[in-house]
Symmetry: D2
Subunit: 399 residues, 4 copies
């Protein structure tokens, strides 16, 4: 039987050319798989037909938007996942769901190899290949750009020589990856890290500096899951999409940072993630209200490791599964409402209420009615400070 | 000889009354010590004279603003200290510098006790007393509000009966603590955590929602220390003060959160820290450019522990000293310029440049001239993902 | 109705006297509750009758040995819990199970207070009272030794004056706590930390220096649970008991350390825990074989926090529950056999085998048949070392 | 000018053959560098002459034993470095000191490449090459066994055809690496992880099961550095060597474990490190006596990361330097004596005394004279347990 290769297909120039390129390099039949994770753009049917027109023996398209939101974005939200305290893992989250569909297609069509369009210097090649080897250790991986020297110029020449039905317009100055959880922009003049981004770079967010009316939203969570906006029930996907629109219209969620890539280099990245940032902001504050202090403190260590691990392409790793167990348990009581003002690039929490609140007005208030027994403080302080005091007695004596 | 008590004196009603109250309770002579950490308000001489008029046998005032900035705010900046990922430790930083002056005064005047005006349910009593016991394990501590039942009403009555020269106006609805690093507001209607703050609450920051021209600033750091603004050399104190003005004018640095207190309860806090937030934002991004990845990752663990420890009143502890050693070492290369736009409540980094940069254009670029050897990626991915792959082989087999 | 107090009853002098002492101090009726956690000694019926003879209105005894082994010792084993890398938490584990029985008795008998025999300077008072307030926040706690000044001398006098049926022999020179998971000895000449323990101190272990035949045991685990010894099925309790005997006979499990107490002081502790140490040793090595590297690395952080938390009396805390979720998940594949030699005070693993092993002979071997592709190493090393190399280029240039 | 290659030379078959092999493969001149890190065996002059006889254009030998002990073993001791809680990093510590000498030789002789004898599946190739790229990013690395397919059989054939002055005896069944800090043994029948090691495997340690007289030693530390044994001043090297002899004679320091290699596989390792284990045991207990609790707790996190980092070949990394800063600070007060009994495979601490002790007899004792104020405990417990109690009130209500 002819070898078969499953290709992660986007509909763009590179992966369209890759269909024929892989076939020529390997003699294999190519099956194109396009996964909708909310990246927008063309209709899936259009993409499907283009793959076939470019020579794919099969073309599969999948609407994975709810799956992506429920099984990939939601765990990130529960872990307040912000790589380097900033970046909500937009691309890092979409790779594993795409991997799942690629592996399923490889099994269905009897393919022994999975191909993707990544270069050899980014994170995504690692995320694809480590993901595939974790779900299907027997499958091989190939990346035509990296492994078969399929440069942009050669791809355009190939496209023209084969008369492929793709517009080979001048490439965008930027390299872009987007999905429902956000949008990543790199390269171009941004590679000079002293240069500021220009408005041209952004698509998911309006200019936060433009005057406009503020928007106010109440997000309701149940056990860490956003279940309603302004009282209307929503799915996780709907919550992200609506907040992408509303927070995006207020310029919320722009990020500009120098980032530590998994492959050891630093790169300049610009992101837009209005829905993600608004939801994480609300979720964090609801945790402040409903999660006990020591659990909250340790959860920050877990959350940070979760974010690093997923950024580093280890979505399907044993550690990720065990961290998820911790994170789910910690979200058990994260239920309630958070009111936020969306305005001028900021999502600002202005109120929180919860049946699960650990905030106790009577303990906290300085008003009459206070139930906190202040006489206990003296003993607490003495014993709480004792180990430092004993050390101080020694150190002062010697100093 | 008569017992002597050193009192942390603010010039306000509570501590003015405490002078006489302590004297009556204990028969001791009271020495008032006021420390200027940039809280503004009255002249130190006015405060000094009021203390004497209220019965203090001695009154000392100290301008500790530079000391506070250099020795307390700066280490916090180097550690990007944000308790619960938000709060730049405004009050927690000022307590140890005040403690240092109280202990020095106690030694100078032969006092055996230090008194402070805190209640028995907050963090500051712990910070004062653990700090004092770490610098002077032999000194006793007393808090008239907590230990001698000196309530507000009784204090006003005392004040009036003794004809003390203090205005006993109706108390502010808020409890406020402020210094050059920021301002903390609590109590009042904010104790209902569903209530949004009103403009009335703020003093250090203008309303971010008001349209105005953006401000742009270049902050220069040398080894983690801010040394120039827009090219003009500044002390740390000047850097904080100027950014308090400029970032404050743009509404930068407002925080509203439910916070885990050291004494085990959650409380609602509103903060303004325009200079602190602007400086930390700039410093973090310069770290992103100049600090190697694994050092940066572990530093986040150290920074978080540093913030918890200082929040928890352990400024003078052995662990704090050892963490400082790490943080200083990690800041060795954090030198360079960060350009920020201050506007609409946000301090946004738009550019960074550094002689110490680890960002390598030639490794990062997707342009020609790229020096990254992509052929190495294949081997990296295979071995990097090997332990997960071996685990997957086992787990899939059993699943 | 008369107030009722539930007392944690051991049958010894202190808690026998406490029955009457509490009654006199408070006028309450005292219900004695004795919990068998494998401490050995007298029959539970004897203890029950003594409580009644000493004035208890009710006396309950519970055989909690299996409950203690399954629900308290087993989670500690799964977390390899060794406080300060040494101490298997013997006493810290028994307090929460006793607390559970005390609270149940308080509910059953309508008591509003729980009493225990601890002093005011140890960890156990905290473990009892924090445990009780976590299971029954409405119950009050009282400790006659600490709160009612019930010293040893006064207790003996009380005993004699009331003619209580307790032998008031000279107290043991040591303070001892023991249960099936181990035995703790403190005070006496051990308080001079330069003094070595003498054989007299030990009961669970023979002198390791005496020549004897080695013992060999194969421990079988299923998902982290010891389920068989030398192929014979055992309960967790039986596993601990049998290894207490066999490892104890070889002198395994003696510990002598200076320990950081929760109340801020350091104390000298001598422990014997032959079964616990043998089981943890075997479990750790089976984890080495069956747990993926990154999961194993992070689990060490979780295990350490677990041990601190339980030592610190937070068994019933939210963080403990969430850590348990992680630990259970991490133990999912910890199944297989570990062969150990018990001899001369050491439990030494000599072999391991597991259906879940991640050790792959063909990858590890240096023999022919090796399946490890060494050509990948070059690329791995280059990219793995890249961030350090880039930093080195900068640092060497400047040095 | 002819290219020059610096080769890490051991004097054994593989690296002796590599001299000619590299010359044939590359046409370069080979400079052999042998570094004495206490591995014993032949005289350095003999090794030097053999290198020249095998075709090296230059041969350098260095006695780096004190350098290795002072600058590599000592930091490991201060960090109680035990990879996977067991392994004292024997080989991992020697690689960086060898790297330093290789780079110095490359600079001196104008070489552009460094060669080593490692295979492509172990940790040491990474340690060598990442180390070299961190000290000399411009140097290239080559490993004949891995890169030029120099198998054992081909090496023997080469040796015989060139008539090299090396005994090509049947290889030892084990792969061995040893230095003054310990000895590592792998491969052979040990690759079946159910097989127990046999006595034949060990060289640094006597059989712990043989009856013999116990040995007692007092180790004196100053700021974490072992400075005397039984009162006689020693260098770090002497301390290790003497304890290798004395603890080795008692069978102390044998380890048998399955270990997570940096390259993603698990391997079976047997170690002997009598001096290292004895010194770390003593150092840990002296830390228990002299280091404040919270510093000690965080130091365990630092120590663990230190060990992982060094195991992973990142000795010269920025994070390693910053961790060293912490570790040195934490050792500032680790001074005093530890008495240990060495016997039957165990190094057991029996006494400790220190001018820097934080153990306070008067606080710890249960005797009269106790200075601990037990009345403070009640307040401490109430506030210490408050956050758990508030969470419990919520959770019980809902449960």
């Amino acid at each position: 039987m002819t070898e078969r290769v499953v290709l992660a297909y986007s509909g763009g120039l590179d992966t369209s050319v890759a269909i024929g390129w892989i076939a020529e390099e390997t003699g294999a039949e190519v099956i194109a798989v396009a996964v909708d994770v909310g990246q927008g753009g063309e209709d899936l049917d259009v993409i499907r037909n283009r793959a076939l027109a470019c020579g794919a023996v099969e073309a599969e398209v999948a609407d994975a938007r709810d799956e992506f939101a429920d099984e990939y974005c939601l765990p990130a939200l529960k872990a307040n996942a912000l790589y380097m305290d900033r970046y909500p893992l937009v691309s890092a989250l979409s790779r594993p769901v795409i991997v799942k569909h690629l592996v399923a297609a490889a099994r269905k069509h009897g393919a022994g190899t999975v191909a993707h369009g990544c270069t050899g210097k980014g994170n995504d090649q690692v995320r694809f290949e480590v993901g595939i080897s974790s779900l299907a250790p027997d499958l091989k991986c190939v990346a035509p750009v990296r492994d078969y020297a399929m440069t942009r110029d050669k791809a355009i020449a190939f496209c023209e020589s084969k008369n492929l039905p793709i517009a080979t317009t001048r490439k965008s100055p930027y390299s872009i990856d987007q999905n429902v959880f956000g949008r990543a922009v790199e390269t171009g003049f941004l590679e000079d890290i002293w240069n500021a981004p220009i408005e041209d770079v952004y698509e998911y967010t309006a200019d936060p500096a433009q005057p406009r009316e503020a928007d106010e939203v109440v997000v309701t969570f149940r056990q860490g899951v956003p279940v309603a906006l302004d009282g209307r029930p929503v799915t996780v996907l709907q919550a992200i999409e609506e907040l992408n629109r509303r927070a995006g219209a207020q310029g919320v969620g722009r990020l500009d940072m120098v980032e530590d890539r998994l492959v050891g280099i630093k790169s300049r990245e610009v992101y837009e993630a209005p829905g993600a940032i608004a939801l994480i902001t609300a979720h964090q504050e609801l945790e402040n209200v409903t999660v006990e202090r020591e659990l909250a403190r340790f959860k920050r260590t877990v959350d940070r490791r979760w974010g690093e691990l997923v950024y580093d392409g280890q979505w399907f790793s044993p550690l990720k599964r065990a961290l998820d167990g911790f994170v789910d348990e910690a979200n058990e009581h994260v239920s309630g409402d958070v009111r936020m003002t969306l305005h001028g690039g900021r999502a600002v929490v202005t109120g929180r209420r919860s049946q699960e609140s650990l905030y106790d007005f009577n303990l906290a208030t300085y008003d009459t009615g206070d139930t906190f027994d202040q006489s206990q403080a003296k003993g607490f302080i003495e014993i709480y400070g004792l180990s430092s005091k004993i050390a101080a007695r020694r150190d002062l004596h010697q100093g």
